[in-house]
Symmetry: none
Subunit: 190 residues, 4 copies
DNA sequence: GATGAATGAGTGTTCATTCAT
DNA sequence: CATGAATGAACACTCATTCAT
């Protein structure tokens, strides 16, 4: 028996991400992905139940990788603001070095497939960050508002600013990233 | 010779928006739109060069309508913060009463078609708002940061908060809208 | 507007029947049928909802034609036995001159699609024959047994005998047909 | 070196028959059969040259079993009519207790594969029955007509009557089976 | 202007079979 | 012997667009 060629699965995932980057989520068909991965369309169905499964699994994979990157060096003994800032900067660094991954998540999140991911499971990976925010509220360091509102001002801005489509004229460098964080912080701090 | 039947064109636009709302951007094919508009697929090509043209034109149309709604009651003699707050509240009211339009813009903005819109032309419709922001900077009422960063904290949050997919557990009422505005304002104010 | 090209629909039906004759029901794919009809696969879907619809509709069409042929010259004032014999002979004549149609019905009837036809509606076309059998029972000319049993000995034998696959060595001529009818008649007569 | 695992081969045959029963001949793919037999698709190709070989071999196997059942208790010293009647009743008993096998033969016989079986070889198993019919003709007990015609009235009716698809409203019990035999007998007897 | 017919190219998926172990 | 991985070719069907009227 031939054993599952992990390289092959990885090639499929990579092809998926790259193709979405090149031609967009909508136009990324199974056969195009297969061709880019140098694999038969049928092979794809050995590793994934169907297209949806491929796209969702890839998304979850990427998100995990992302959460790891964002939480890199996480240390909640640091001053509250610094923890957030580190997280913020990690985010931009990740996007900068993983443009394709980032763009994949952006396109996926706005596709109908997004409704199929187990959100709870995903959130687990960001739990340390969520916890620290709740602690911040308790300690009256940040405003006591619904979590979604907080997220709107400290998580989503990263996605918007890093999205070159949305911020065409903005050059992302250390300065602008720091300036932007200042706004985010001002928004949520008490 | 008859003139192009505007009712027909309007039916097409309406059908497009409704269908995107019902079955999503990706699945909204030309023939389905035509059927929903009670029109032949061929008719569609009288009014629009192709599918892309239809979707883009519809988007521009919706955005114009949206800008009008957002700028409703605009009066730059009012205190700066109040102008913004009115704009903010207009935004949520628009979304509430035009869910389909809003969702269309959201789905469009994350599709590859979005790259085809003449952004400059669109921005024209929001010019009063842009101008007032620049004035705010000059008058040192708000922070002197790149416009994209400002937008990230006072325009995009509206889109995020109103997007039920992104903020599943948040109930949008007068209170939460006001609370959220407080954060936006704190972010940008000097 | 182009009008529906009836020739095209007829070409599709004919292609379906001929192809089933040549390569069998199972192997007759939509694209092969389309090719044989000199038509795009997509065209087929203008006339029929799907493959199933095409096959079932074709079957019903053929069955109607068949019933007409079998009941040709039907006259229930004739002696009972003669009515049946005429029907019997009509059957073999039909098969002889419409081998393809006959074979199509045979293959269809043994496919899973066969469960989708409205049997009642089909039976309507054979009603005169059914009625006369019931009359024969009342008048004590033929045996009073369940209808399915009667059918087994006077309708199905036609299908078996005419099926060259089942009766390889039997030459169908006036003599053998008459001889066979004698057996059928002996089976059911009182 | 191990010998071919007969259990495995039997599992394959059984799976084939059961699957055909459940989802029909057309939809029964090699991999589905393999899965049902708890065996790899590749294993199947150790025992059979290809799908066709599998299906045909299974058919022959079933037919052998069937002939044995039908000829069970065969004794040509019994009165001619009784021999036939025993055969007839054996047939219905077999179908009743081996619905799956029967249905497999029915579906197979109407598939293009049926042309691949060595009919002569199959007929060998029914030889005693064939011989007795010829004897019946010689002894002027039954009509002197081509064998195919005889078969049409004493073998095929069993298949039709037992086929619930063809005889939907007929309840098969001792009475109806006997009644039907009466017709068959009347058909062929002199 | 308006239409439904018509289509080649594409969709996601399954097929029977072979390969490497 | 037995396997699951791997595949090219096919499957039923839909697409955006054009044609003839």
């Amino acid at each position: 028996m031939r054993i599952k060629d992990l390289n092959k699965q990885e090639a499929i995932i990579e092809a998926t991400i790259l193709l979405v980057n090149e031609i967009g989520f909508v136009s990324s068909s199974v056969s195009k992905i297969a061709k880019k991965a140098n694999v038969s369309p049928a092979t794809l169905y050995i590793y994934y139940k169907n297209k949806e499964d491929l796209l969702v699994s890839t998304y979850v994979e990427v998100k995990k990788k992302m959460s790891k990157a964002l939480l890199n060096g996480f240390d909640d003994s640091m001053p509250f603001r610094d923890v957030l800032e580190k997280f913020w900067k990690n985010g931009f660094k990740f996007v900068e070095t993983n443009k394709a991954l980032f763009q994949y998540t952006e396109q996926f999140a706005n596709s109908p497939f997004s409704e199929l991911v187990n959100q709870e499971e995903l959130e687990k990976h960001f739990e340390p960050m969520i916890k620290i925010l709740h602690k911040g509220i308790e300690q009256k360091v940040i405003k006591d508002v619904p979590f979604d509102i907080l997220a709107t001002f400290i998580f989503y801005p990263m996605l918007i600013l890093a999205n070159s489509k949305k911020c065409k004229s903005l050059e992302l460098n250390n300065d602008t990233i720091e300036v932007a964080f200042k706004l985010a912080w001002d928004a949520i701090k008490l």
